[in-house]
Amino acid sequence: MRKLSLLKRKEPLSDTQLLMTITIGIFFVMYILAMILLGGGFLHAQQLFDMLNDNASLIIVSCGLTIVMIGGGIDISVGAVTSLTVMSCALYLNSGGSLIASMLIAIGIGLAFGLVQGFLISYLEIQPFIVTLAGMFFARGMTTILSVNPQKANHKAFAALREKKIKIDALGYRAKNGNLVPGTIEIGVVVAIVCVILVFLLLKNIRLGRNIYAMGGNQQSALMLGINVKRTRFMSYLISGLLSGVAGYVFLMHTGAGNATNAAGMEMNAIASAIIGGTLLTGGVGNVIGTFFGTLSLTTIKKIVVSSGLNAPWWQSITTGGMLCFFILLQSVVLGRRAKKKKT
């Protein structure tokens, strides 16, 4: 806090900003510690790029979920919708469809889920948890119906698109044989970053975004202030659905194949990312930049676990759980202290 006063802020940090700052700080500390103590891959920029490459779709899904959570809702269908999109697009591309149409399919599936779920939640006022739980089962089931077996997307234009990568020589490293391996970033990462920026702007400067904060802060007040709460809530789920569709396409670009178990548990990782990034489940507080760093923190800790030789998958789950717990504790301690300070 003292350090931050150097920035000459007029106002003290809001809860959102404080929680986000903590997350960003912890991410950097963790990463630097990993560089010092573990060395190896962490010393190459490619380690960071790989983290982004592998998790671009998670970042996109988390962005959508952050919007919903700030509005005081929850969407646990996002992983399943992503999976359904991956499978649908893979099958469509396999059948020789066009590239543009496959993208439209991805967006269409996402929007369709967002539309139906948003309608049920906002206008029929059904509990979001129940609605999106149903959506999750439905999308998972559909994925399996489409194909039980993995489907590789055999499509020329799509393969070409997948191969398009940003290569940065300056951030590369020398492999053992002396060849320079340039730093490689996939297109999906660019899409993810664009999504983060767009959602950031939406939440910060667009009317809809501010209405979402108001709705999450106090729904009754938002209504009294003249905000169309139903439409605002509907839009939040619609955007979340849309981003799940986009995430599905990015996922397919990364893996190149559809699989019934794709993106399993992604919704939970997304919720964890948002929470670690400082979004409160109670709504009204949160920030997508925080979520972005939340995903990175989560990924970093997993990488650290793997690099430490604890390769079994359950170790990753255990550390994720531990980290989530740590952050929630930290948040409640920090916010609790704050509330106390304000009182006196």
Binding site: K10, S14, R207, R210, N211, A214, N218, S221, M224, G226
Partner: protein, 499 residues
Amino acid sequence: MQEECLLTMRRIDKRFPGVLALNGVDFTLRAGEIHALMGENGAGKSTLIKVLTGVYQMDGGEIRVEGERIAIHSPQDAQNKGISTVYQEITLCPNLTVAENMFIGRDGGAWVRQRELERRADALLTRLGIPARSTQLLGSCSLAVQQMVAIARAVDMKCKVLILDEPTSSLDEKEVQRLFDLMRDLKSRGVGIIFVTHFLDQVYEVSDRITVLRNGELVGEYLTEELPQLQLVSKMIGKELEELSYLGETEEKKTASAETFYEAEGLSSSDALPFDFSIRKGEVNGFTGLLGSGRSESVRAIFGADKVTGGTVRVNGKPAKILRPIDAMKHGIGYLAEDRKRDGIIAELSVRENIILALQVMNGMFRPISRSESEAFADEYIKVLNIKTASRETPVGSLSGGNQQKVILARWLLTHPDYLILDEPTRGIDVGTKLEIQKLVLKLAEEGVSVTFISSEVEEMLRTCSRLIVMRDRHVVGELTGKDLNQTQVMKTIAGGEA
């Protein structure tokens, strides 16, 4: 003053299941006047306001603004038609900045220009003399400032009709004066203000005209200077004046028995500084002091509602450990919380379920109260306390504030407490119910129940209490009994003058 009619409501009807909340009510507001809307709880004030602001849709009647007939479909619609409301409970968003709270939900482009809004907000805040910065989070402002921000919002929306619903109930004297200045300022700009309050003094201080409602019907419209205060009260409650003087100041308060019921030494909690306190059987005493002086915190410590951090407690002469509310309840102590919405009622449960709640807790969950038994209890107390409800199965949330308060009171009376703590039991409720509650307190004391009574209205406490504990800045600064129990002495002690 202009005699032009800004707003006319004619023959407004509003029905709720089982209740006719408004029955052909007329209301007229002129430009540039402050018009007080008075009535007991359940008289229909809130309903009328909610019809006007589009929260409820009326079942009959017409509304005209500046002669033009309008239909109001939603709160937003009302705002757009120049009718703004500032509610008793702040209806702004604490997680947004002051500027945003002033401008959100209004017309404007999709792109929010924060800087420009902040500049406009600051200009208006300065003009109206409101001590807030536009970039501040609303949650970091005091309640009074939050209320003023709500008014600033209405002003910026060029409202013609401004409705202030119980705006002063959480403000201190100085803040009230500032609010009144603001109201007079707006009045001089031609805004018509509807002022709903329970504080009669404030009505006479600031309003030009009074409309009285009773039981969902219009009693009449009067010029403030032509309606003496006592007449206003009798019009509101529809009773004769003699009945009101039942609790005259001359009435001798019965001296309590000498036996001490509860005694605390150096009691402190997470929110209260150490204090000593004792109460005898059948005594009525009170904590007084300004809002935030620690009076509520102290009684909460007695009940174990906050984390108790120290002190020794004796009940009936025996050492007792009261760390949680259930401990207190087992020792026969009941507590009626200040904030009935947060700590008291469970809105979704029925009147009956709310009434038996405390008794059920005392009994433990393995000794359920039978349905017929609980129905009998509920019926009894609905009758004894004169609770106005459609039936005993009506959700408490749909009752008016005063009746909700009675339900909580019934809940505690049912446990037959030896000691009852009432924290602001009469706040935000009408004169008639206030008197009923005061009478009840005195009756309980006669039956040997000790009562601690807290109220913002000193007059009310002087009428009921035989001993007053005065607090200032979280310390007990005085204890008044007998002769010293008068308004001047209390004020002096609170203010910290020579006492």
